[in-house]
Symmetry: C2
Subunit: 185 residues, 2 copies
């Protein structure tokens, strides 16, 4: 069985995050043995949504301006509309995303989460998927877009929507485990 | 005084439209003498929002699959997040936007409305503004982006956010009036 014991995963999200795209990978990674941390823009709680209706809240663990890429082994970017739209306007959030690519650490983004990848300018030549509405933004950012449940390209895992969460979680766990093996080797 | 008597303006919007970005240009164009029509994806009403909270609804006049660019003299694209995100996935909506550019008719887009311009692939070399979060998407679509209340480039008027509505309405009316003069000349 895959164990991610000793691995520390950052989830970057804010208000308007799609609930299942935060909660499902969170639970899956925790169950696999990883420590998970919710990084956001402000202290307190963030408001989740499902299909543009407000649902539950999630407590923020750390602020994006106060953490470092070195503190984490991988990054997860959930979707929702307002969530990445707000995060991409925050220079600390964009620098945080860029930092994981510079360090070659695993990054997993789902639905509208890949907007942050366009903002961080890390998509040139990358094979990705995303929610269908932002396909053109992905292509214009230099990505090669494909309509699949999950796409793995180097350190990057992307998926289209909540229906793809089982494949998204599986590949994210695989990538974090591989990064672990590379470190040990 | 500018009169738009005899001019027919299409507003293309769906659920999640930012209320003031629909209602203010709507009232301004109507007051200037134009006929205004709300074009959408489905019959009934669309749900407006203000700062991601639901507000009032607006009755839909016509369906985008059942109208033609020739029926209108100009197009207005309000913002909101969910609104353009949904519209850009609809091929009739994207073709409708493209049609106004092919015909050289005035198009005015505000806030997140310009996402539809990226989708319609009409931004190459165009000077535009938009809501700050989609600046990168505009640049990647080939636009020259600038941080101004209102930008006019040929038939295209763009603005950043609800605060810019007075300038946006003024320039939209000017452009429709000019198109009128061109037709008469």
């Amino acid at each position: 069985m895959t164990t991610l014991s000793g691995k520390h995963i950052a989830f970057l999200a804010t208000d308007g995050v799609e609930e299942s795209e935060l909660s499902k990978p969170w639970e899956a990674l925790k169950e696999a043995g990883a420590k998970v941390t919710l990084v956001s823009l402000e202290k307190g709680e963030i408001q989740a949504e499902k299909d543009n209706e407000k649902t539950r809240t999630f407590p923020v663990d750390d602020l994006v301006g106060e953490v470092k890429v070195e503190d984490f082994d991988a990054l997860v970017l959930p979707g929702g509309l307002q969530n990445p739209d707000t995060l991409r306007s925050d220079k600390n959030a964009v620098a945080f995303v860029k930092g994981f690519f510079k360090a070659g650490k695993p990054v997993s983004a789902i639905c509208h989460g890949p907007w942050l990848l366009a903002e961080a300018d890390v998509l040139e030549g990358r094979k990705v998927t995303s929610y269908k509405s932002i396909r053109t933004d992905m292509l214009n950012a230099g990505a090669r877009w494909t309509d699949e449940a999950v796409v793995v390209d180097g350190n990057l895992v992307t998926s289209r929507c909540p229906d793809d969460l089982p494949a998204f979680c599986e590949k994210t766990i695989e990538q974090v485990a591989k990064a672990n093996q590379r470190k040990v080797a």
